[in-house]
Structure formats: C-alpha cells, structure tokens
C-alpha cells in the first residue's frame, strides 16, 4: 500500500483552471476524502492521481516515486466509479477474475484470489450468478471485488454511493469503511456530501473553485474552519454567521455584537471592518438572562434534538437544543454563545482570524 503526496498540482482545460496549486499528503492506509461542491475540481484531482488526466503542472508521488506523467496502467491504482460498469455477459466470478486474467495470472491462483475477495465482501453465494439479475448492492460489491482483487497500491473512488437511496447508502458506507479497516488499503474517495466525508474519512480535503480550502482531520475542520466557505459547507445546519463591523487588536478577548459584549478566544491577528462572528448551532443556547435578544422564526423537531431558527440583531441563526425544551414560534429569546468555540472571520478575505483556539489546527493546515 502507498503514501500519496500531491505538490502544487494544477490542471487547465483551455482557459478554464479546474485545479490550481493543490498540495496535500495522503498517508499510507488512510481513508481520504476529497470533498466539495460540483465543479470544485475534486474529480479532476482524483483522475490526475489515477493517471486518467495528466496535470498541467505539479507533482504526484506514490510511495516516493514521481508518477504525474506516467500512464494509468503503470501506477497500479484501482478506480471505482459511481456508475459501476460490469460485463453483462459474464457471471460474478468471471467479472471479478477479469483483471487477473488480463495480467495472465495462473488459473488456480485466480480462483483462490477470487474466493478470498468474495469472502471479504460476503458474496461467496452469488459467484456463479449472472450479473444481470443482481440487486444494486450486490452489483456494487462485485464492482468493488473487481477493484480489490488486483491488490493495487491504492483505491480511487468517485462518488461510489452517489446513485443509491439514503438508507442503502448508509449501509454501504458502513460496509465500505469496514472493508477498508480490514484491508488497510489507501483509499481516496470523492464526495460532495459533507456528512459522508465526516462519517467515513480519516482526513478530508475541502476544495472550492479548484483550490484547497482546508485539509485535515474531520473533527478539527468542523471545529476550526479555515474559511467561511468551509464553515458553511461542513455541518448541517452549517455554522452561523453573525455580521458585525469592528476593529480587533491582537490580544482581544471580547467583541461587541448588537451592543452586547461577547467573550471570544484570544485573538492573535488584528483586523478591522466587516467581520463575521462564527458559532456552530450546538454552541448557541437559549438564555433568558442574556440581553442579546432574538425572535423564534421556525422550529425543526429532529427527535434527538431540535433546531430553532432565530432572527437576531446580526442575522438569522440556528440553535441546536434538547428536544425536551419548549419553544414556540414568535417567542422572544435571549441568546448565549459558548465562548471557547467562536471563530472570527474577515469577511473581505473569507479567512478565519487566528486565535489561541484555532492556531493549533490552522497553523500547519
């Protein structure tokens, strides 16, 4: 298995820059997520790693070897697409055997290998069935089997669950992740679904407009987003943005919102002008003693918790509170924010201002 290093990778299609100077490292054995909205360059990045596209500039190292201009077949990488294409006229065993046959592996060895893979995937009982009559899940398992059987250095997966319905998707994502944990294979996985990325990934790269916005461990990205884009893209509901205009100096530990004083992590950067006070919904609480007041606009009951949408002086925000709390639409509420979790952003650049709280994550991000 392999470590993959991406350095200053760039891809132009004519005048259009699909990926611009991306750099990140995928450690050996990691389940690595390329996350972003459609058109952000994540699939292009994956295709360059696999060798299906050649980069305009930059380097790709697989286990220390620079492969950016090498053909896909020389990189020993297996690719799993969203639309898993199986050979319709072959049965399951023949489909999985195919990559080994084309490598001219001896028959007995192929058979043993296919049996092993079928066992890993739990599809021993369908090996002799034609692929035509298989369920969606089994088809996907066969497609995975065909990728696994080659023992490649790494797996590339392009939204492999994108076409499945929600319930089945949840099950397959657990299965994929469990499979990865058993095999320990380096896996690079493209998705636009932030929950899928949080749930499955050891690391995440968040991309937007061809650039890497942030790269790191899911929980750290969630807690300490580097940019407004990341803060908004990750989390459901996303981070709340309260807009204010102020001058912050290095060392400040308070800001003023709507005439009220709020504690924030000690700032390490000065800034002035249009700023954004970022707070996650679960760090907003309803507190009648607070002089910062808002009005409840909507309530979304979720069973475990409920989401309260509140019109506040600096913008609309959402609070995640216990399902047992009684709140009604139209009610006036006081708001408190967990001071240790706040990120202040510079609105003009979109970047998070460094503070005591986020420097550990953002300094080497």
């Amino acid at each position: 298995m392999a470590q993959i290093i991406i350095k200053n990778l760039r891809k132009d299609f004519g005048d259009f820059t699909a990926v611009q100077s991306s750099s990140f490292t995928i450690e050996d054995g990691e389940f690595f997520m390329l996350l972003g909205p459609s058109g952000c360059g994540k699939t292009t990045t994956l295709r360059m790693i696999a060798g299906l596209e050649l980069p305009t500039s930059g380097e790709i190292y697989i286990d220390g070897e620079e492969v950016s201009q090498k053909r896909a077949s020389q990189r020993d990488i297996a690719f799993v697409f969203q639309m898993f294409a199986l050979y319709p006229h072959l049965n399951v065993r023949q489909n999985i055997s195919y990559p080994l046959k084309s490598q001219r592996m001896p028959k007995a060895q192929i058979s043993a290998k296919v049996d092993e893979v079928a066992q890993i995937l739990g599809i021993e009982d369908i090996l002799n069935k034609p692929v035509g009559g298989l369920s969606g899940g089994d088809r996907q398992r066969v497609a995975l089997g065909r990728a696994i059987v080659r023992d490649p250095k790494a797996f590339m997966m392009d939204e492999p669950l994108g076409a499945l319905d929600a319930e089945f998707r949840e099950r397959m994502s657990e299965e994929l992740r469990a499979l990865h944990d058993r095999m320990g294979a380096t896996t690079v996985y493209v998705t636009h679904d932030q929950l899928e990325a949080m749930q499955m990934g050891d690391k995440i790269v968040v991309m937007n407009h061809g650039s890497v916005e942030q790269f790191g461990v899911p929980q750290q990205i969630y807690d300490w987003p580097a940019t407004l884009f990341v803060a908004d893209f990750i989390g459901s509901p996303p981070m709340n943005f309260l807009h204010f205009n102020d001058t912050l100096s290095k060392g400040d530990t308070h800001v003023t919102l709507g005439g009220q004083d709020f504690e924030i992590p000690r700032q390490l950067q000065a800034a002035s002008g249009d700023l954004v006070f970022g707070v996650r919904p679960e760090h907003v609480s309803l507190d009648q003693t607070s002089a910062y007041k808002g009005e409840v606009m909507a309530i979304e009951y979720l069973g475990t918790t409920q989401i309260i949408m509140i019109n506040a002086p600096n913008g609309v925000l959402k609070a995640r509170v216990a399902a047992a709390d009684t709140v009604t639409v139209g009610q006036g509420v006081g708001l408190a924010f967990n001071p240790r979790t706040i990120t202040i952003f510079d609105k003009s650049t979109g970047a998070a201002l460094l503070s005591d709280a986020n420097i550990g994550v953002l300094d080497h991000g």
Binding site: D223, E282, L302, G303
Partner: protein
Amino acid sequence: MAEVSMKNISKSFGDQVALEAVDMTVPDGSFVVLLGPTGAGKTTTLRLISGLDKPDSGQILINGQDAANQTPAQRNMAMVFQQYSLYPHLSVRQNLAFPLKSPMLRTPADEITRKVAEVADVLQIAHKLDNKATELSGGEMQRVSIGRALVRNPQMYLMDEPLSSLDAKLRSDLRIELKRIQASLGATMLYVTHDQIEAMTMATHVGVLDHGKLVQFGPPREIYEDPVSIYAASRLGSPKINILPADMFPGAPRGATQIGLRPEHIRIGEGQVADVGRVEHLGDQTRLHLTLGNVDLITLTDAHTTLATGDTLKIAPQSPLYFDANGDRVH
C-alpha cells in the same frame, strides 16, 4: 381550505393490495406527512384523494361531503409530483401564471403578477422568471412546479416527494419555507415522503403506512417517543432505534421479548460491558458503534470523546421501549 377524511378505504391493483381499510382524517389547516417505504401505499392515498383513482371500497369525505361523484377538477386539489412536468415552450413566469389564467378563475392581471412574484421570491427563482422552462436545472424546475401549485387557492395541497430530487442544502431551505408557507396560508397539506427528516420537521401529524395499513397517526413527537410498534419506531430517528433481546437488561415487563433503545437513550458508565467498534466524529456529536454480546448498536456521545476503537464501556438503558415477539409495543 378543507378537511378530508378517508373512511375504511381499500384499494387493490390486481392481486396487489395497495391500501387496506384505511381510516384517516386530515384536519383543516394541518400538515400531514405520510411516511413509509416504497410500496407502502403513500402515492395511492394521494391519487384516491385527488380523484385520479377510485377506491374499491370505503368513502372519501371533503368537508363532510362524500366526494365519490366529484371529478378531480371539482375536488380542486393542487398536486405536486416527484417528476416535474412543466410547459417546455413557456417561460417560468408563464408556467407559474398558467393555473391562474384558467377561465374558471378569472384572476385579474395585476393579481396574477403579484402572486407570481410572491411565489417566485419564496422559492428563490425570481431571477429566472423570464427563462424558458427548459433552461432550468432539475432543482429549479421542481421549484417551479411547486410554485405552480402554490399560486392557486385549492382545497388542499397534495405533494408526492417534491423535494427528493433537490440537493441537501436546497432541501433544508425548502423544508422551512414549505412549512412557513403552509402555516401562514393556513393551508391543508398532505405530503408523501420516505425521508424521515421531512416528516419530523414539517408535519403537524405523521401517518405511518405499512403495506397498505395505517399503523399509527399522530404528531411526530408522539410517534418518536411513543411508537406502537418496532416498525413505527424505526420510521423516525437517525441513526435508527436499536433493537435488542429483552433479557439483555433487567426490568422487561411480561410478554416483552425485545427492547428498543433510541441512540440517545443509552446511559454510559453503568450496566453491561460493550465493545467500541467504529467511532464516527460527525462534528456536533460522535456516533459510537458498539457490540454488546452479539448485538450491534449505535449510541451518541460528545463531539470530543476520547473513546476509540477497541475500548470497552458500560451501558444501560434509559427510557427503554418494550416490544413483543410480533414487534408490537408492550407497556
């Protein structure tokens, strides 16, 4: 708006039973969501109420009047389908105005303009009003088809998975908007989905359908907290309710063979020893995949838990629900 009742409604297609003896009242001004997997009878219910299909037996009452002899037009229901159908040669504005131009309505021109602008604004398509319907993305087309229902003033809105083709962000915006529109109009809405979040967040009442039978009907909170069966309990909540053998923990009532534990109803720190499998940090919370004996279960804990795969912990039920061998609730 109207109150609609179904009395003992049954409907089969060949030997396939779609609905069986369904009794349900959609109160005036309510937002009723029918929840169930494919084939549960959700869409059939909508088609019977709208008059597109006739029941084999039973009665449909609209404001207390038997609707059996009313045509779909007379019933005046506005229907939104999962598959949008717009007039491709017309602009978005013309598509939205179309229902109001019906000779039966005689809506004044300035009224049409006002309504169309209002609905376009709510659905975030105001900037596309002059585009041809064919120049829109799938999500935009679906918003136009919702808008075409909203400009009317029907007895009731019938919606069949209208948000399922939209992306997550738009879906969550439109959930709030639809709920707000329904509440502010005092509209009666019957809405079909298999998405439990839509049911929980928008409904005043949820109807749980299981193979053509209405197994529970009530506010989402009631169904979540007080389900009649494992089936009903499993329809709401993500991650799903955990089901364990009743003898795993003391205290099961007579007749109970299974315990249902919502992920948030597992107390950590006492009770039986469980092994920690996968730990999923979702940001706002962490999902722990546990194994207790030979049963897998999922519980929720702090976002910043230090628990890791391979650890063990003790767990005990908190507010357990008990079920018998058939999956029916035991108190």
